[in-house]
Symmetry: C2
Subunit: 248 residues, 2 copies
Amino acid sequence: MARNLARILRGCGSLVPFMKTPARPPRSSSSSIPVRTLVEMLPSLFSSKPRDFSLPNSSWGEEMMRLYEHYNGHTETEGEENQERKWNRLPSYNRSLKYAAGGVYLSKLIQSKARLFTRNIRDPGAAFEYVLFIDKEKEKCVCIFQAGHLLEGPPGHVHGGAIATMIDTVTGTHASAISAPVLTANLNIDYRSPIPLGSTVLIESTLEKTEGRKLFISCKVTSTDGSKRHTDATALFVSVSIGHLLKG
Amino acid sequence: MARNLARILRGCGSLVPFMKTPARPPRSSSSSIPVRTLVEMLPSLFSSKPRDFSLPNSSWGEEMMRLYEHYNGHTETEGEENQERKWNRLPSYNRSLKYAAGGVYLSKLIQSKARLFTRNIRDPGAAFEYVLFIDKEKEKCVCIFQAGHLLEGPPGHVHGGAIATMIDTVTGTHASAISAPVLTANLNIDYRSPIPLGSTVLIESTLEKTEGRKLFISCKVTSTDGSKRHTDATALFVSVSIGHLLKG
């Protein structure tokens, strides 16, 4: 148990991207590659630097790019109190741990292939494209979300489960930034207006209060100009020890 | 608008699978294929018979198969009243409509590529493997769900959003069977115990009441022997006309 925990915690520090298995060079030619060249190739073949999925890619539409540039490193003056709010982008990877062993996984096979649900499709723009920003005081998070064609529920619109997934992701990331790690205890979601497939929306989360290990967060999904309210939600998270998860 | 609706309704009757684009024969050889052979080939190349994803495949584990065989066409005697309950399997496709045109989709490109969120990954066993059964009176639905490695949230466990997605799917399918089409109005989910990645669980939904266009459904996710309660939820659906969705 303690050994597993140590492995997990080590894993936390070394996030690993979803690497393509490097093509094996043909046996006949491998002997002709100088050892020095092979060693120089290693860092690129087995890079430990994870891919950050919350950076712009070619699938991001105009609205997504405009909002990304708006929030990225942006300081804005807000409300009647003229409060300044500085937004910081949060990186996003497709797996959280290199080694989560023991009782957590049913098999080594599952462990090696596990990928974060929201980042499990390689095709850019096909599913969840999103980037999160958090303010310095960690009171608010804002997420720009572009919904791809693989997220369909009602004809032409985003699946209720995909919206719930983004709400869980935004509020959960927010809660984790305040008190990591956390587990979702409750999600209560009012679906007010369907989100057209392919559109970009804003997801904003606000920390309402904390009570001991509990974090209460509210969340809304709106059109990017704020004029249309798509979804309202509240979320309750409980901060836990990583050991708690290992108990299965 | 009326024309779009007519196209959608026609689409409803002809569910279309996610077909691989058939390889184009080389130009040089096409002239040598007799016309009759080409015509005979058409049905297999452009089959309109959709693939039913709720049938067993090689990725289904022992527990999934055992439960599938238990519920499939099964009549069971239940409770103190000795009520008989006959379960009927519901088919499941990866898209609901062939033609949902007009204002619903932002572009023809999105329309042609749109896929149901829960069936958007081709690799069997990698994501959502599930099959739904409904009883003859439509009072209850039961779903056997095997959670694949691409659904990870907390290390080694299923993402809260993926659980919400399955709850929305099971309760929504249940509501649709009673009063199609419906839209999700509210989901309220209590996450009690995390679900290990790779495991098979039972999702049961019960119709609590109907009020006009509203359907109130409760839902629970348990271990397959019923001993462990993973998740409790309530869901509210509102029956709508297909035209309502087209207003987008």
